[in-house]
Symmetry: C2
Subunit: 314 residues, 2 copies
């Protein structure tokens, strides 16, 4: 069963791990790169790395980002040189950014570099960026437009977001490898990532929605898992961001964003009562346990999602 997942960082990485434990090498994860940034001249791809490290079993689970057992000596020296180090980069993690940076600067496509990074870490799935092009999420707050990581990390998601834009998105294209994998996909899964700033940019890459529509026309369902459970984001500012942007901060609010794009929406048992209204949007609903606390619950959710999706194919 060839599966393509669209994912952001932590929540997406968890479901991706569950999917990998179920379909192994038949999984491709297409990851948001709109919250990439440059730090100290290095190209950092936070979501790609979170997915890659999680799939490799190397992620720091408590922290939710970075590598387990990381040291911070380079960061301390960078601080000594007067560099801003609010975006913390561990020593081992730095190697990833160093290799990515010089290969991309040397002319390699980000997709090829990403494949080359994931393989030696022991990732069996195929991890790909949503685009090889430079796209940068910016959010408008009371203090004007901010780069995403400025808002997300430096300001700890405290400012209210009034507007979101993906700078460069109109010139971005879907990488050939992503087009190919979506062509082969039997099931497409939209992971429980922030629908605005994680899944939003992926769907906004010109051509991406058409590729999902083509998959559906070919009989391959598109399934999304709600990142909002009981009106709250399990991690991150998705609930507040939905509300401040005029959406309902519920699974229903997320379902509305995916209306016309997906066949099946997966909500948590606590949101079972929303099922009728979500079905009214023209999609099926799967009610199940969606909170992933450990490897077993990741695998269980992934298995349930794939099973329900496979039924739609039949």
């Amino acid at each position: 069963m060839r599966v393509v997942a669209l994912a952001g960082g932590v929540g997406g990485a968890k479901l991706a791990q569950g999917l990998q434990s179920t379909v192994g090498r038949d999984l491709t994860v297409v990851v948001n790169t709109a919250d990439d940034l440059e730090r100290h001249g290095l190209l950092v791809s936070p979501d790609v790395d979170t997915v890659m490290y999680t799939l490799a079993g190397l992620a720091d689970r408590e922290q939710g980002w970075g590598l387990a057992g990381e040291s911070w000596n380079a960061s301390e020296m960078l601080a000594r040189y007067g560099e801003e180090t609010w975006f913390r980069l561990g020593d081992s993690d730095l190697a990833t950014h160093i290799v990515r940076t010089y290969r991309v600067r040397g002319g390699e496509l980000l997709a090829d570099v990403t494949l080359r990074l994931a393989a030696p870490l022991g990732v069996s799935a195929t991890v790909l960026p949503m685009t090889n092009d430079r796209v940068r999420t910016q959010v408008r707050t009371d203090d004007g437009w901010l780069d995403f990581q400025d808002y997300f990390v430096r300001l700890r998601q405290e400012p209210t977001v009034h507007e979101v834009r993906f700078a460069g998105i109109e010139r971005a294209t879907v990488p050939a490898r992503v087009r190919g994998e979506l062509g082969y996909a039997e099931i497409v899964v939209i992971a429980p990532s922030n629908p605005i700033v994680s899944i939003g940019p992926i769907l906004a890459v010109p051509g991406m929605r058409e590729l999902l529509a083509a998959a559906r026309r070919g009989g391959s369902p598109v399934v999304a898992v709600s990142p909002i459970v009981g009106g709250r984001a399990l991690k991150g500012p998705a609930d507040r961001m939905l509300a401040s942007l005029g959406h309902e901060a519920t699974a229903l609010g997320v379902a509305r964003l995916y209306e016309g794009i997906i066949d099946l929406f997966v909500v948590d048992r606590v949101d079972a009562g929303l099922a009728p209204e979500i079905e009214g949007l023209g999609m099926k609903v799967l009610v199940t346990d969606t909170v992933m606390t450990d490897d077993a619950s990741r695998a269980r959710l992934a298995g349930g999602v794939l099973e329900s999706a496979a039924e739609l194919r039949a």
Copy 2:
């Protein structure tokens, strides 16, 4: 007493530390950059960093290069990604290369970047590169031309060197800050570094010999300390390199290379017998203990060199 020292790596750094302990902020060290290299897309300046770390009291004294108490996690991760790691870069040290690289790529002059790196480490002397331009030492061996660090680190200086060239030297210029400091210099000291591949490139930067000549005409002596003691280099391949390039691998052989450039040559007591012949080259000779084993001997040699040089001014 304003002093300018010309220096390579370890030996040069030791004398520079002795000079700094004597004249403090009045010391400027002009450092060889012809053995700089790119590793993993990062610009590494081994001699500049050795001088900088030594003057900051942060150097790993046993190893002779790098920072004391260094960790190697990024290097292990780089190896995992398939990168060649024969040129070992510690985690804290990486911060230096990262900052240098992105500032130079961003258009800052190497001299300005070097000043900006040394200051927060607590270096009181002024550390400057011999040029802001790209110069690369290459050595011809039985296997053809090799980049210097390929020969020096990867092949552990084992091949015999038949010829040396400094690629790019003809287009290099002396940085304005170096011209200025040489203009103010009351004494110029050529450190006991390899005369072929450490001091050689510095003297080969177009305009550098003229600046030394101008200092001498202005009454500021140029003094060199022999890196060869009793026919042997205290560190590195200088003795074998002198021999294979047709020079005498003695203090006299080094003095011949500096003929017409210096006023005073400093040799170790074990080489006192060479003094008459060296004086025959048209330079004075100071015989003293030149082996620097600790801070005290570094300061003692520096003090003796400055004292003898000052007498030449009087």
